[in-house]
Amino acid sequence: MSASPSTTAPPAAEGAEAPTVRGGRGAAKRRTPISRRGERLVGYTFMTPWIIGSLVFTVGPMLWSLYLSFTDYHLILGGDFIGFANYTAMFEDPMFARAVKVTLLYVLLAVPLKLVASLAVAILLTQSRRGIGFYRAAFYMPSLIAMSVGIAIVWKALFAGGGPQDQFMSWFGWEGGGFIGNPSVSILMLVLLSVWTFGAPMVIFMAGLLQVPGELHEAAQVDGAGKWHRFVHITIPMLSPVIFFNVLMETVHAFQLFGPAFIIGGTAGGPAWSTLFYTVRIYALAFVDLRMGYASAWAWMLVLAVGVVTLIMFRAAKNLVYYAGEDNK
């Protein structure tokens, strides 16, 4: 992970480490109150909670779940090593196909819609006008509550049959009823919930936009470049590290949507599996059916998928993302 994802953070002081007093330079007879060994000792002392925690609660469990994924472990019945049987079974499991379809559809709809909305509003909000602070705060607020159970319940009501969405759309001739009971559109509830949180990437876009040097736009304007031209050839390239960061984070998170999907669709992803998100299915397999071996195989499949998507993005970023001050060939 070479690219530093945070674009606006202060420049890392790593490379520019001034020669310190610590250790070495014995000939100079300068007092070195803290020896290298002391620093090591303090380092490991400070890292102790993290090291224990990682071994017991993250790195250890990861390896364990990898092992479990090759067993038919059941919480009560126990289980044995079965090789790749879970992985081959997955591809014949109709639920797997359904969960993958729902999750991919959600990622492909929610991420672009949310990011386009957030970039558009961010651009509007970086114009110097009155009330920007207020709008920014108001647009950001949903991001803090959207993933709560409370809002999921509100969402169920907003999209219920005869509810606000149904009534509003029926003015325009809609006959599909509330989204919540209609399997062909029910996923849109979750897409809209995601778009509703456009404020979080918007704030990041705004910070990025304010760093685009004004001289570039002025110079281009003098050369006769129109607004659209300047947007495509100046704003977008200068903003590309921030765009990359937002696309990456939003995608990785979208693959893992759980709470709202669980409240809205239940463990079965109703109606008719149309909201059967991948993580909801993992939960149902592991904690309802107690088939923890099989569920682990599902979880590792998710890790693989997110890993591949992340890799592809970093590859693409090499050619598409412009880092000012670096030689991009």
């Binding site: 953070a9 925690g53 469990p61 950001y140 809002i151 509100v154 704003t235 997110v306």
Partner: protein
């Protein structure tokens, strides 16, 4: 679609032309339209909480036809004979412990990773970065097995222990980034004055880390307050439920007959988060802008 430059501001200060004014009107109209869409759900739940049951689902208008406070009365009654304040208290305990854990553990972990030199530091930092992108679901099952082996399922221990061990990669990363912005000369000066690393950490770094501490505390509080998956897996007795679990149970059992009570309860559960937001708004937005926090 011009981006903020110095130019428009200068023009704005001069006499505004008709075209400028028209543009400004269009801009405000667009922002207000977005605002209405964004705030509609919040406004809807606000008014739904004071409506009669029959009026909630059938009326698209945000203005209630009649106002009743019964919904709040039934919300305060809680569920299964346990009053609502009890669930608030449960949520508060989890969130407060999480904040303490995050601040204590992330600051020392980040200080070691960002400021000290010791073998294995780079590898450990790589693990932190990797867990940033790693789907947590993959650790869920073994973690559950470990916690049930430790006999702590149905307590809040599994919900907060990770926070005390610095396992929240996101905040560790945020603290490290923040530490990198603090000049090394400070440590060096302190070292020359004879301060050890513990002194440097407690007397110099912690006070300077204050903005990061405040931002991470606010986000931790809100995220723990909203967390649903943890309590869903680990808490099974209703007296121990935090608010999200209460809402889910209420939604499954009582909501059919008492929709208004459900909405009042939902509203009350969101109030602390919204209040937090209103009070710390500046910090939150600055924090997210500088470190790319996901909201």
């Amino acid at each position: 679609m011009s981006v903020a430059t110095e130019a428009p501001r200068v023009i704005g200060r001069r006499k505004r032309s008709g075209a400028e004014r028209a543009k400004s009107v269009v801009w405000h109209a667009a922002m207000l339209a977005v605002l209405v869409v964004v705030l509609y759900p919040a406004f809807w739940v606000l008014t739904a909480s004071v409506r009669e049951n029959s009026d909630i689902l059938t009326n698209i208008s945000p203005i209630p036809t009649s106002i009743t406070w019964d919904n709040f009365a039934s919300a305060f009654d809680g569920l299964a004979g346990i009053p609502l304040w009890r669930f608030f208290w449960n949520s508060l305990v989890i969130s407060a412990l999480s904040v303490v854990g995050i601040v204590a553990s992330c600051s020392i972990t980040a200080y070691a990773l960002g400021r000290l030199e010791f073998p294995g530091r780079k590898a450990m930092f790589a693990v932190v970065i990797a867990t940033l992108l790693l789907p947590g679901q993959v650790m869920l099952i073994p973690q559950y097995l470990i916690f049930s082996e430790m006999d702590v399922v149905n307590t809040i221990f599994p919900l907060v222990i990770g926070k005390f061990l610095g396992l929240d990669a996101f905040f560790v990363f945020m603290y490290v980034q923040f530490l990198r912005g603090i000049p090394r000369e400070l440590d060096q000066a302190a070292t020359i004055d004879g301060a050890g690393h513990f002194r440097i950490f407690f007397s110099i770094m912690l006070p300077l880390l204050r903005p990061a501490i405040v931002t991470s505390s606010i986000f931790t509080f809100i995220w723990s307050w909203n967390d649903f998956m943890g309590p869903l897996i680990y808490l099974h007795e209703i007296e121990k439920f935090p608010l999200p679990r209460l809402l889910q149970s209420y939604n499954n059992t009582e909501a059919v007959s008492n929709y208004g009570g459900m909405m009042a309860m939902t509203l009350l559960s969101l109030v602390p988060v919204v209040l937090f937001f209103l009070v710390f708004q500046k910090f939150l937005i600055k924090g997210i802008a500088t470190s790319g926090v996901k909201g």
